[in-house]
Structures are given as C-alpha cells and as structure tokens.
Amino acid sequence: MGLIFSFFAVITLVAIVFIGVKAAQLRYLFGIVIPYAAFLTFIIGVIYRVLQWGRIPVPFRIPTTGGQEKSLPWIKWNKIDNPFNSLGVIIRMALEVLLFRSLFRNTKVDLREGPKIAYGSTKWLWLGGLVFHWTFLIILTRHLRFFFEPIPGFIRILESLDGFFQVGAPVLYLTDLAFLGAVTFLFLRRVIVPQLKYISLAADYFPLFLIGAIGFSGVLMRYFLKTDVVGIKELTMGLITFSPVVPKTVGTIFYIHLFLVSALFAYFPLSKLMHMAGVFLSPTRNLANTNRAEMHVNPWNYPVKVHTYEEYENDFREKMKAAGLPVEKE
C-alpha cells in the first residue's frame, strides 16, 4: 500500500506541475513562489525540529560503547568507539556522519540446518548508502553554479573531476550515474528483501520515489531534452538576488525538476529525512563514556520515595540481633 501510494503521490506531483505550467501557464507560481515557500519551509522546519530536540534534556549519559573503556593505565582502550573525551567523541561522530561507521559493521546472519548460525560481513547497504549520500551532496554542490556569477573555482574543479572521462556532450557526470544507481539499489532492496518490504512504510518509499524522480528529471533535462540553460540561470540568479524573473524560454521539464526539488525541501522537516540533523544529537553516539569519572547532571532529577535503613532495621531487628548482626537501636 505504501509503495503504490508513494508512487502515485509522486506521479501526481509531476502531473500538477505539468498541467500548471503547460496548460495554466503558472510559471511564476512554480518558478518563483513555490521554490521560495519550499526553501523557507525547509529552513524554518529544520531549525524548529532541531530546537525542539535540543530543548529536551538528556537525563542520562548512555553511550553505546563499541570497544574497551578507559580503565587501568596498562589496559589499551579504544579511543574512538569508547571515547573518554571530546576529541574522541568528535572523531567518533565524524566517522559516523561522514563514513557511516556503524553501518560498516553490518553483518548478515546465515541460518542453516543443525542449527548452525554464521555471521558474514555485508557491506552492500553501507556502500549503497554511502554512494547515495555522497553523490547527492556532490550533485547539490555542483548545482551551486546556478547561484553564482562568476562560478567559483571549487565548483569548476568539482565539475571537471566529476566529468573526468569526458564522455558525451554535455559531458557525462559520474555522480549522476552513481546516484541513480544508488537510489535504484535502495529502492530494490526494499521490495526484494522480504523483511525490508515488511517494515517499509509510505514514508520510506515516498522520499525514494521523489528523489529518484528528481534525479531522473535532472538527467533528462541535461542529457536529452536539453532545455535553455541560460534561461535557467537567469531564473536561479533572480531567485538568489531577490529580483525574480521568469524567462519564457525554459522548458516544462525544468519546472518539473524544480517542483520536485521544492516538494523534497518542504517535505524534509516533516519526515524521517530529519535523520540528517538528528544523528548529531544521538545520545548513544555523541557522549563520552566518562560516567564514573564525571557526574552527568539530569535537570529533572527529583527525590524519590525510598525504603530507609531505619525501616529495614525496624522490620528485622529481632532477627538481626538473634543472628549476631550489629543494629543501630538495641
């Protein structure tokens, strides 16, 4: 159900912008108003969500320790997977965010008759995820060329590296290929692996379809339909300089691409995509394992009802005396 719903949701988005631009000529709406609104939703939404999380206390220091703790001086400790100071935490977080270290640990269970259970290393999800996120980031960065005039050097360098093989005209970007491949992989595993299919919700398929459609429309536009790039740049520069213009020469495919991107931006803060910001706040990863060395304060720690020694002795005094155990009150 989630799959079909998400598929048609994305189709509907495409239909809306197609009719809106082609039939109703709402170029100003789809070229200017919606992108502004979506971007604003994204910024405000993400900040709101992060502040909302940030306001909630972290009552306990609960790092998941992935290696030997710092204890006796002659015992070698794992500075990254069981950090004891901020530097260790920063390294742990950096490896987590940039290289998906925890996912790299992934294993696959192999259950055989007997029973005999083995655990093999499996890196496919890690690799697919890494390619997906990194190529997404590179593609996004490349797109900054539409918001700068002149185009900064680092973007040009990125572009020439990405188009290293100089295939086709315009030059084929490797990240475009890898990105579409990774999205396809992430989608296919959801429909092929039975357990994954079972846990997948509309909220998992929808962003995949949406992002896939963004990639697909982008590729179509760049390599096949070849719409007016000068016009597009006019529009994007207008957006960034707050003097919006809507050139007539830009084809519908561009509006489809832009509308889908807008949809993604607007959807982002409402969705699981917030893991991008959330991962930084995860208490099992971003805290040092200094529990017994330093006190962690819980702002809502409160006194609780306890059973005191006095009450205990009152309950058992005679038995304690008979057993020769010392008591406070004879």
Binding site: Q68, N82, Q195, H275
Partner: protein, 534 residues
C-alpha cells in the same frame, strides 16, 4: 510444559508474514510470554492498578481511562528524554538492526526485529504526538492505541532484553533498550508488569535484595559457604556484615548468594578477600547489586538503589566494590552518578593492596571487582596456580550490559588468562561489543516463557557449541548473575556438556592461600586435575 526438541525449535523461518504487520493480529502463544504481575507486588511499592489478572484473559482489568494515562505518559516522556523522542523520530527503517536481535534470529517473529518492535510504539507516538500522524493516519505509519495494540506492546516489550546489540549497528545509534525501557515504564502506569520483575522489585524494596533473603538468612547462607570453603581449603574465613568503619563496602548480585553456580563465585570472593586481609564488609541491607527496578521504571530503579549509598554512608566506608553482574553495572556505571551524585561522602577509590588509584571512577567511587582483581594480578599480589583449572577449557561470554554500556572487555579476560591455561574465544561476531545476550536478561528469566528464552539464547549457545566442538570447551565463564542462572538452561539445551562459571570462582581455585591444606577438589567439589582418584 515440555519443550520441543532443539532440532524442532531450530527450524526457524526468518521470512515475515504475507499480511502487513499492522494488519497481522498478535496471537499470544504459550511459552512466549511471562506471567502477569501479582497484586501484592504492586501494592508493596505503591504502583498503580494492583489487581489479580492474567495475560491469557480477554479482560486485563485496566483502569477505565487507561488510554489517556498511556498517551499522557508518552507525551510526558518524549519531552523528558531526548533519546526517546529522537529515536522515535529519525528511524529510516534501513533494516540494519533486523538480524542483530537474538530473539529474531532464534525465533523469526518479524515483530522482534528491533525496528519493528520500536515501530509498535512509534506508530502510537505518530498518532498522538505528530501532526502528520494525526492527519494522515495509517499512510503516515500511525495507528490508534486500541486494547489490542496495548496488548501487543506488552507482548513484545517483554521479548526484548534491552541488550543494545541493535544500537551498535544502527547508523544513528537508535537504542531499542531506550524504547523498551520507556515502553515498560508506560505499561507500568496501568499496572502491566510481569511477575518475574514485579516480584523481585517488591522483595528488594523490603529486604534489600531480589530474592527476599532476610538478614539472618544471609548470615546463615554465608556460614554454609564458610564451612564449605574450610572443607575444601582448610581455611576458615570469617566475613563481617553491616560493620561500621570498614574500608570497603562489597555489594554483589543476590543471585550469587542463592543458587549454583553463582554461589561458587561468592565463595571465591570470600576466599580471595580473606587471603588479602582486605578490610571490607558485606551488608544485609545493601544486599543486592542488581536492580530490577531498572526493568520497571527509572524512578523505581532509583528507589531501589538508594540503599547502596545510604548504607555506604551509614557504615562510613571509603568506597564501594561491586560484584560480577551485568545490568547491575549498566545501572551503577551509567545511572548511579546522575541519580545520587555528587558522592562526596566517599573517597576516591584506592586499592589498599596495590595502592592503585582507580582514576576512571574517581567521581562515582564504585570499582568493579574484575578491575580490582586484574590490578592485583598485574601487580603480582596473588600467588596463582592456573594448572588447578586444567580440567577446564574455558570460553568467555561478554555480558551485554558491561559490553555495550561500559566497554568492559579486557579486565575479565586478563584475569581468566592468568588463572586458566586453556582459554578459547568464541567467533568474533559473537563476542565483545558484538556479544549476544544470554536470552533471559532484563527480567525475562522466568520459566513460563521458556520458548522465548531458548530461542533468544540460541545465538549465544550456538557460538558456545562451536567452540565446544572445535576446541573441546567445557566451561563458559561470565561476569553476570543472570547469565549464571540463564546460560545453564540455554547451554544445556543447545550445547550440552558445557557448564557455567563466574570468573572469581576460577580465581579462587587457582589462588594459593597461606596455610591452606592440599586441595583435592575445586570450589564446586569436582576433583582437581590429577586428583581424580583421591
């Protein structure tokens, strides 16, 4: 109820049902879920809705406004625990956690995939705490909290041992233990605990320990230990109880005072500290290092463990030494300081034997007994004859709590390697931070849910069987009282021929004491190597 044969139980299908999980009703299967909590247990600690009820009945005798209580409780907790809120919000259902859970591997029930177990509660959270869930309902993964949903949450909250293995593999560190801990806390708001947790909690409240051992019983038990030690070693040890002015307060899990093989660990500790002439005391009041309150609610956990510091203060000890126990150390290490700190009435722990300062616990002032003993061995303070353990081929089970809530791997291994000549590791994906739970942790060690325990115990026991067959391993060492109780059952079932021991039992076997007689048996009465005929 007889258990199925291992071969039958091991026919596991990891493929999920055809129907979606929200549309697949949870059927309560005997052998899977533990008994309901008793009225008296809840009354003892003043918990809500005490009554006699059974999970097998249609009517769970809930308060009329149970739904409101649960949802209010949920709203309160997502604003008090960042972990909880974040973990409910950011899961992308990548599935990396799915086959990391021992209950899923050993059982195949898709709702035991950590992601889906969390999703049971997450769907309710979406419905009542998020805008998209309120508006979009099922398509946003939200669902009403019906009585069947509540029962389902109960059913699966007690099929998770809070071992955190999934959290290690999660790219965002989502910790199902946090979800389960708070789910159980919510269930307790409407009186839905299990007997095997609520009973020990009530005992612990009244007597200071889960087993309900009263002060004179503890004293008698130790007298028996001392007699046995004297028979075996010729040495009379005379431990003290509730003694003011001792340097160290020793607190161990009460399971080790009560049942084999844990009792041998206690005997080992008695012998070791006697040999050292350590100035320490036991307490009949602080007679429990473990904390089943932790499986109930954070407040209950704090209520039960106040006694440890109260007693340390009353007896005017310098610092606290803690025994071999798993969840005890998760609580002592990650929670005590926050609940009870600053612990400024105690001193920074220093070993009176070696002079070593335990810098890593300078604020909390609690030392793990394996840290203490490893330091003794490193400094050459113990005279050891590991050949006395030559009848043992040993492997070591890392307890989940000390592994992923602490990172306690080298100390016990260092000790074992010094007191045993034959030590073999289990496969690397099943030890250290990747260790598998015994299958019965977090209060699930009852007998009526035996199928769950055996299934959950399979991954650990299977690794034990691997080293049994490959190296002839016959002894499984661990530093957890629940392990010592649970692994016996699970290993007997899946990997017969392997026994279970605490680390300090083996230490005492190897320990050469001043003035001891020629030993012919070890602490559990088995003949020492070469003494079989005597």
């Amino acid at each position: 109820m007889a258990n199925p044969k291992p071969e039958e139980l091991a026919r596991i299908d990891l493929k999920p049902h055809k129907t979606g999980w929200m549309d697949t009703p949870t059927v309560f299967k005997p052998g899977i879920f533990p008994n309901a909590c008793k009225q008296k247990s809840l009354q003892t600690v003043g918990f809500p809705n005490p009554r006699t009820w059974s999970a097998k009945d249609e009517d769970w005798k809930l308060p009329e406004n149970w739904q409101e209580i649960f949802i209010e409780g949920l709203r309160e907790r997502v604003s008090k625990y960042r972990s909880f809120r974040l973990f409910l919000d950011i899961c992308v259902r990548c599935g990396a956690c799915a086959d990391k859970c021992h209950f899923f591997i050993g059982g195949g029930d898709p709702k035991n995939m950590p992601v889906l177990r969390a999703e049971l509660l997450r769907s309710v959270y979406r419905k009542y705490c998020t805008t998209s869930g309120k508006i979009m309902g099922k398509i946003a993964g939200a669902r009403e909290l019906t009585i069947d949903v509540l029962k389902e949450i109960w059913y699966y909250a007690f099929q998770c041992t809070e071992c955190r293995r999934c959290s290690l593999f999660c790219p965002y560190g989502i910790d199902t233990a946090e979800i389960t801990i708070l789910a159980r806390e919510l269930l307790n708001l409407v009186g839905l605990n299990i007997d095997w947790i609520a009973g020990p909690v009530a005992n612990c409240w009244l007597t200071g320990n889960h087993l309900g051992l009263q002060p004179h019983t503890i004293k008698d038990t130790f007298d028996m230990f001392c007699d046995d030690i004297e028979t075996i070693t010729g040495i009379r040890v005379s431990p003290t109880f509730n003694r003011k002015g001792a340097e160290i307060l020793l607190v161990v899990p009460s399971g080790d005072m009560f049942a084999d093989p844990g009792t041998y660990t206690t005997m080992g500790e008695l012998l070791l500290f006697n040999e050292l002439g350590l100035d320490y005391t036991w307490s009949t009041f602080a007679s429990e290092g473990g904390d089943f309150g932790f499986f109930t609610s954070n407040e209950m956990a704090k209520r039960l463990h106040n006694k440890i510091y109260e007693e340390a203060k009353r007896l005017k000890v310098k610092w606290i030494l803690g025994g071999e126990c798993g969840h005890m150390w998760r609580v002592w290490h990650q929670y005590h300081n926050t609940w009870f700190g600053p612990v400024d009435f105690l001193e920074e722990p220093v070993s009176p034997i070696t002079g070593t300062k335990f810098e890593n616990t300078k604020s909390n002032k609690t030392v793990h007994i394996c840290e203490f003993t490893a330091d003794l061995i490193k400094n050459g303070k113990l005279s050891l004859d590991p050949s006395r353990n030559d009848n043992l081929k040993v492997t070591f089970h890392d307890s989940c709590n000390t592994s992923r809530g602490m990172g306690f791997f080298e100390e016990p291994r260092y000790i074992i390697k010094n007191v045993c000549n034959q030590f073999y590791e289990m496969p690397e994906n099943t030890i250290r931070e990747q260790t598998f739970c015994c299958g019965s942790g977090s209060g699930l060690n009852a007998s009526e849910n035996m199928e769950t325990r055996l299934r959950g115990g399979l991954p650990r026991a299977n690794a034990v069987r691997h080293v049994r067959d490959k190296f002839g391993v016959n002894m499984l060492a661990c530093i957890c009282a629940i392990d010592r109780a649970a692994l016996v059952t699970s290993v007997d079932y899946w990997s017969p021929g392997v026994r279970v021991t605490g680390v300090h039992e083996m230490v005492a076997n190897a320990l050469i004491c001043k003035g001891e007689k020629k030993r012919t048996t070890n602490l559990r009465g088995d003949p020492l190597p070469g003494m079989e005929g005597e």
